[in-house]
Point group: C2
Chain length 124, copies 2
């Protein structure tokens, strides 16, 4: 079975720019079928993460700006981390996805609880 | 390790009534921290499912009624199913949660890819 985050992560990560709005984020999630978007600043730095759950919060609280709902302190993973560590981190923080970053902090992938769950599904 | 869906499922399932609106669904998801709500009709029957992804779709398309966004054909699981089967079904349909129903079709739990991923996290 795969041993590291790099074996399971999605490499084509759908992201959103820091200046975008809640409706932009909702549109990107709808078109691409994803629920977690890393927020990227102009200089390519990871500035936060916004999820479909945050969109629900925006609807309930009538927010319209990304800054009002995105989470700034992002929990991330590294490609060489063992899968168990990423799964444990997601469980501990009650989150469903971790951006995978390289040593310079650039987003190179995304590991999700869906991806980890798929491993279990493969044992049939 | 746990062998069946019943060992991993959440038993306190947060649901929503068929007559509710998109803003109600968003409020319930925000307050309870969940992203998947089985939609229950007056006679307790499972009528559909609505997720935070559907709320994103509602924001992008400017929908306000649950019927406009909920999925009616719900993929479900049974308590005695093996975990691998539930994980395989979620993967195949690109979904992150399955309501668990009893022989009369009543929702008795919810299994999520988060719950399955947690098993992997426990191996550390
Ligand atoms: C507590 S989780 C609950 C719902 C679901 N488990 C999920 O991940 O969307 C929702 C919150 O977690 C935040 N979140 C999701 N992934 C994150 C990550 N990798 N680092 C930090 N926060 C994250 C979102 O911004 C959102 O505010
Ligand atoms: C294709 S998934 C993609 C996002 C993510 N994987 C999720 O489950 O929310 C989103 C769609 O799947 C639907 N969905 C989620 N769980 C479902 C289930 N158990 N049965 C049928 N449809 C479901 C939602 O209503 C939503 O329209």
């Amino acid at each position: 079975t795969p041993a590291s985050v790099g074996d399971v992560m999605v490499k084509d990560v759908v992201t959103i720019s820091l200046g975008a709005g809640v409706e932009d984020a909702a549109g990107i999630m709808m078109k691409s079928g994803v629920t977690h978007l890393p927020v990227i600043a102009g200089d390519k730095a990871l500035s936060g993460i916004v999820t479909a759950w945050d969109i629900s919060k925006a609807v309930a609280m009538k927010y319209s700006r990304l800054e009002e709902i995105m989470t700034r302190n992002v929990v991330t993973a590294r490609q060489e981390d063992p899968i168990e560590r990423a799964a444990g981190d997601m469980n501990r923080h009650n989150i469903s996805a971790l951006p995978v970053v390289d040593e310079s902090g650039k987003v190179v992938g995304m590991i999700t609880s869906d991806g980890v769950s798929r491993l279990v599904g493969m044992c049939r």
